[in-house]
């Protein structure tokens, strides 16, 4: 049985046909170059290229190299990869879907019943994996009032049109002609846009506008509770289970399970502030705080471990070894295989 390797741009496919067809797929754009696949591979078939160079600079090469002459298509790399960059398929089915194969336990869900569609998670998600689609009511539903322009009194001066903060008033301007000696032929109010602020009425030099807002005198009884509907979507391929959505959600609608536990240590004496780790981190754990005023040194490198999944990409990228990522626990589904257990445990320390 021969193992073949195919390159599609920077994506890699390693295939072996036989009693069962095994295919290992590598998607370059999803890879954070954390090096876990390289570490777990029992036959040293995977080599990761330098993390900083691959993420920070334009490179022609794929982020990892797979030696098809060494690869036995066992699937350990596929099981450990926290970024969905590697996937082993047996007869077309991902081993992540096959119960017999252990896989890391991770999840991210947004409860649409709890979600108030504020989009904080969508904004915060470091991988742009979240889409919140929301429908807001029309402005007219949240306001009540009346507006009328007496077109006979109106002198078409355009002051109301210029002053209207929501561009609800429109005059049909024209150059006067001898057969129609007016500067505008019509004036209209878009009542869907009008918020009944009253500015047009107050600015009008000829008192052509009558306008009442019913909210102030009568209270808000006429206004129904606004109906805001929406749905959330987390792209399972892009999600890295960093918990940004969970932490930033004001109503606890997002729940995330991280695949790994551990600790992240930064030696700020050794750190030279090159920013490689900040750029490499797929979870936006690291940042450079801005100085609050001239002459005051800000913290050199800030971390928030709430968002860290302990993948190790930052540590691997640091050119001066100022970052230590300790992975204390890998959460994975039970397996009887001692080899697989040993492989997972080899990545814990």
């Amino acid at each position: 049985m021969e193992t073949t390797e195919l390159l599609d741009g920077k994506d890699i496919t390693v295939e072996r046909a036989g009693e069962e067809d095994r295919t290992l797929l590598f998607k370059n754009h999803l890879c954070a170059v954390c090096g876990l696949c390289e570490s777990i591979c029992p036959v040293s078939a995977i080599e990761t290229n330098p993390t900083g160079a691959m993420v920070r600079t334009e490179q022609d090469a794929s982020k990892i190299d797979i030696d098809e002459n060494k690869c036995v298509l066992c699937g350990m790399c596929s099981s450990i990869c926290p970024f969905q960059a590697l996937d082993l398929q047996i007869d077309g089915e991902s081993i992540k879907e096959i119960a017999g194969y252990p896989h890391i336990i991770k999840s991210a869900d947004i409860d649409d019943d709890e979600c108030i569609n504020c989009k904080a998670c969508e904004t915060a998600c470091p991988q742009d994996a979240i889409t919140i689609t929301r429908e807001l009511p029309s402005r007219a539903e949240l306001i009540t009032g009346e507006i009328d322009i007496d077109k006979d009194t109106c002198i078409s001066c355009g002051m109301c049109e210029e002053m209207c903060p929501v561009d609800a008033i429109e005059l049909d301007h024209q150059m006067p002609t001898s057969d129609n000696p007016v500067v505008a032929t019509d004036i209209n109010v878009d009542t869907d846009k009008c918020v009944h602020c009253g500015i047009c009425k107050r600015i009008c030099p000829v008192d052509a506008i009558t306008q009442v807002c019913r909210i102030c005198p009568y209270g808000e009884y006429e206004i129904a509770e606004p109906e805001i509907t929406g749905t959330s979507y987390i792209d399972p391929e892009l999600c890295v289970n960093c918990t940004w959505c969970q932490e930033i959600c004001p109503v606890d609608a997002a729940k995330v399970t991280k695949p790994f536990e551990g600790e992240l240590n930064i030696d700020s004496e050794t750190c030279q502030g090159c920013e490689t780790c900040v750029m490499v981190c797929p979870c936006n754990v690291l940042s450079f705080p801005k100085s609050t005023k001239a002459g005051v040194n800000a913290e050199k490198l800030h971390k928030d471990e709430r968002f860290c999944i302990y993948c190790g990409a930052c540590g691997k990228s640091c050119p001066v070894n100022a970052i230590e990522v300790k992975r204390t626990k890998i959460n994975y589904t039970p397996t009887k295989s001692k080899a697989w257990k040993k492989a997972f445990e080899s990545l814990e320390n």
Binding site: P50, T57, Q59, T276
Partner: protein
Amino acid sequence: MAIGLKAYREICHGCGNCVVACPVNSLRSPEVAGGKGPTDDVDIIMIVEDGAVQIKNPDLCGKCGTCMETCPVEAIKLEEL
């Protein structure tokens, strides 16, 4: 193919940005950390020699790409060697 540091001396302006931006150089040489070229004989990755960048100790390179980002003329690159 391995990715490593390569200098293009013929297009280099000799500004020294890469020398002082390099975190490895900066850690190894207090003078570089202070923004100057080193005057002592500490081993650093690259220096400006005869008006152009010269790679001296490629083995020290952590391949982070900081030098590439600071070079105004793409005279230093991480690429397949």
